[in-house]
């Protein structure tokens, strides 16, 4: 076990896998000499060579499209999108091409591709360096979407993504990069894609979350326990698609109350599917309202500190209070 932050955990895992398997190549903007804007690949162009650490032209559709070609011809490409906000030009290559290759060829071709993209807000990134994109991609059959929120999960899920025969969108929450630290097992362990994880045991209510919101939930849960003895179970979705209904539903059935918390714009966000699943399959187990907290339906977090803060916390301690009200219901 070693203590790391999320950034370091991702860097170390990717580095180790690249050392073990020369089919893995990393491509994206500034991944070479610059080592990526978050320094994930610092020094790698020297270590692995320019053929494996590829500074691409400024063209996201091309990055993903070229990576698909590589995946079709024996490589295991990791396509880095500089910020998740800039993945949109590649929407067609991801949705129409990567995610459908296996289906459309009736299983003849596979597309083992990992797309990494730093997402989420809270780092003064403004409208175009703060977006949540998981809801768009969670809806794409043929694509797996993971969004780990702890160092151990990040490393384990990245290894699973690299081993997966199908395309995986690997989202890295920027606020978690340095703010979240934790123990990471040594060795090349994996964390399975498609399994949610109970990050905190509890009995009074279940909070379902992911990304940086997960940590806001954990924090609120700790404080509620201290302040009022309320016991909140916190489920980390971890994999947006395919969604692990079972872990979520068992927790909700146990506690009888559910709150879904996510940073993305509320309407049509990933929380809609999670809440809807709970409603359909566990409504008769609920002893209180089903609560959903998402970000406001505005394009993204604005730059000015008061505006960004308003996006994250429109009212003081809103998650804490929503949990408390639900527990008291």
């Amino acid at each position: 076990m070693t203590e790391k932050n999320v950034l370091t955990a991702i860097r170390d895992a990717l580095h180790d896998e690249m050392s073990e398997d020369d089919r893995i190549v990393l491509l994206g903007e500034d991944v070479g000499a610059r080592g990526g804007v978050f320094r994930i690949s610092e020094g790698w162009v020297m270590e692995f060579g320019e053929q494996r650490v590829i500074d691409t032209p400024l063209a996201e559709s091309g990055i993903v499209g070229v990576a698909i070609g590589m995946a079709l011809h024996g490589l295991l490409p990791v396509a880095e999108i500089e910020f998740a906000d800039f993945i949109h030009p590649a929407f067609d290559q991801i949705v129409s091409e990567a995610a459908r290759m296996r289906y459309r060829s009736n299983g003849d071709f596979g597309c083992p591709l990992v797309i990494r993209a730093p997402c989420g807000g809270g780092i003064h990134g403004a409208l175009y360096h703060s977006q949540s994109i998981e809801a768009y991609y969670g809806h794409v059959p043929g694509l797996k979407v993971v969004l780990p929120s702890t160092p151990a999960d990040a490393a384990g899920l990245l290894r699973s993504a690299l081993a997966d025969p199908d395309p995986v969108l690997f989202l890295e929450h920027k606020k978690c990069y340095r703010a979240v630290k934790g123990e990471v097992p040594d060795g090349r362990y994996t964390t399975p894609i498609g399994l949610a994880d109970v990050k905190r045991q509890g009995t009074d209510l279940t909070a379902v979350s992911y990304g940086y919101s997960l940590h806001l939930c954990l924090d609120a849960a700790d404080r509620l326990h201290q302040d009022e003895g309320i016991s909140v179970e916190v489920v980390d979705v971890r994999t947006i698609a395919p969604l692990d209904k079972q872990t979520i539903l068992s927790s909700v059935r146990k506690t009888g109350k559910a709150i879904v918390v996510y940073e993305d714009n509320r309407t049509y966000g990933a929380g809609a599917e999670i809440a809807s699943t709970i409603a359909e399959e566990a409504m008769f187990d609920l002893d209180g309202p089903l609560v959903r907290i998402g970000g406001p339906d505005i394009p993204a977090m604005p730059f000015a500190a008061p505006l960004e803060h308003y996006f994250i916390e429109p009212e003081p301690d809103h998650i804490y209070r929503a949990m408390r009200d639900l527990a008291r219901f």
Binding site: V66, I68, G69, Q93, R102, Y103, S105, N106, D108, P165
Partner: protein
């Protein structure tokens, strides 16, 4: 000047008489398949077909230098001629047209003419135009990275050149000097949109210098000229000198697909004029002039091919449909 024996163009290209006859048969097969598919469409047995007629010269010509089992093919939907050269059979083509379970491209999941076959090295294609262009560059990158001798070829229409993906794919290939050949089948229309509304230039090939590699314009109705251009590009790629963009000027004789009606956007005179440059007729004149294949010979090729196609249609029509629940399969590797 000293007199010298006139060499035929095909000699200079290193093509034997057998090669020429095989190329001719492939062209005829594409044409007759096309006509047969349209008949099936009118009979109500083929809901959707994509015609090739008119493109046989550039397709057979540019496909011919490709090596089976080594090179990689990224055709687009109009490339019946290309996939025949790659090894698809008329029977397999009709399995696709009838959307049968054994359709090698997609098991009846995609529209006909959305080619694919891992066995034949034909990369599965989709409907969105030009998406295969960056794939070609990525495959060529991988081939180079792995030290393979493979050449990648990617075909598309002139309409496809307007898509961002086309630009991004060519740019990447140029930067890395990849072993890939881009072949534009310029038939002057993208469905109904004429070239003048697609681009402000006469030649697509003129864009190649902007990506740092050569662009070549060739008469797409001259199968040997197309062969020659591709052969050179293929060799260039194998020598590690990078990509080539080949533009074949050609014409499509039928509507865009069986869903189209081209009368609204092309005059009948224009189509008739184009038909006077028929690549098959031209090649047959070439072969006849050199005593390689005379008129009766060509007619018997047609008859043989027609028989093969008729047999293929009957057999493909009898083949089983996909099972309904099989619709759920192959979403992921671990799917049912």
């Amino acid at each position: 000047m000293a007199a010298r024996v006139t060499e035929s163009p095909h000699d200079a290209l290193g093509l034997s008489v057998d090669d020429l006859l095989a190329m001719h048969r492939a062209m005829v097969t594409a044409r007759l398949l096309d006509e047969a598919a349209f008949r099936q469409n009118r009979m109500g047995r083929a809901p959707f077909v994509v015609p090739v007629s008119g493109h046989e010269g550039c397709q057979i010509g540019t496909a011919w230098p490709m090596r089976k089992g080594i090179d990689i093919w990224l055709p687009y939907y109009r490339d019946l001629g290309v996939v025949l050269v790659a090894g698809m059979t008329p029977y397999e083509v009709f399995l696709g047209i009838f959307a049968k379970a054994d359709d090698p491209s997609s098991g009846g999941r995609q529209m006909p003419a959305h080619w694919g076959s891992r066995r034949l090295g034909i990369i599965s294609g989709s409907s969105p135009i030009a998406t295969q262009v960056p794939h070609a560059s990525g495959i060529a990158y991988a081939a180079k990275y792995r030290g393979e001798d493979a050449v990648v070829a990617c075909w598309f229409g002139e309409g496809a050149t307007s898509e961002g993906d086309w630009h991004e794919g060519l740019n990447f290939a140029g930067i890395h000097k990849l072993p890939v050949v881009f072949v534009c089948e310029n038939n002057h229309y993208a469905i109904s949109v004429p070239q003048s509304k697609q681009m402000a230039v006469e030649n697509v090939a003129d864009r190649a210098p902007g990506y740092g590699f050569p662009g070549v314009v060739v008469d797409g109705n001259d199968v040997l000229a197309c062969y020659g251009a591709m052969k050179e590009a293929h060799e260039r790629a194998r020598r590690g000198e990078g990509p080539t963009l080949i533009e074949c000027k050609t014409y499509r004789y039928f509507p865009h697909t069986s869903d189209d009606d081209d009368k609204s956007y092309r005059s009948r005179e224009e189509v008739e004029e184009a038909r006077t440059h028929d690549p098959i007729a031209g090649f047959e004149r070439y072969l006849a002039d050199r005593g390689i294949l005379d008129l009766p010979g060509a007619a018997s090729v047609r008859a043989e091919v027609k028989e093969q196609i008729d047999g293929a249609i009957t057999a493909a029509w009898e083949a089983p449909d996909p099972e309904p629940e099989s619709a759920l399969g192959h979403v992921f590797a671990e799917s049912p």
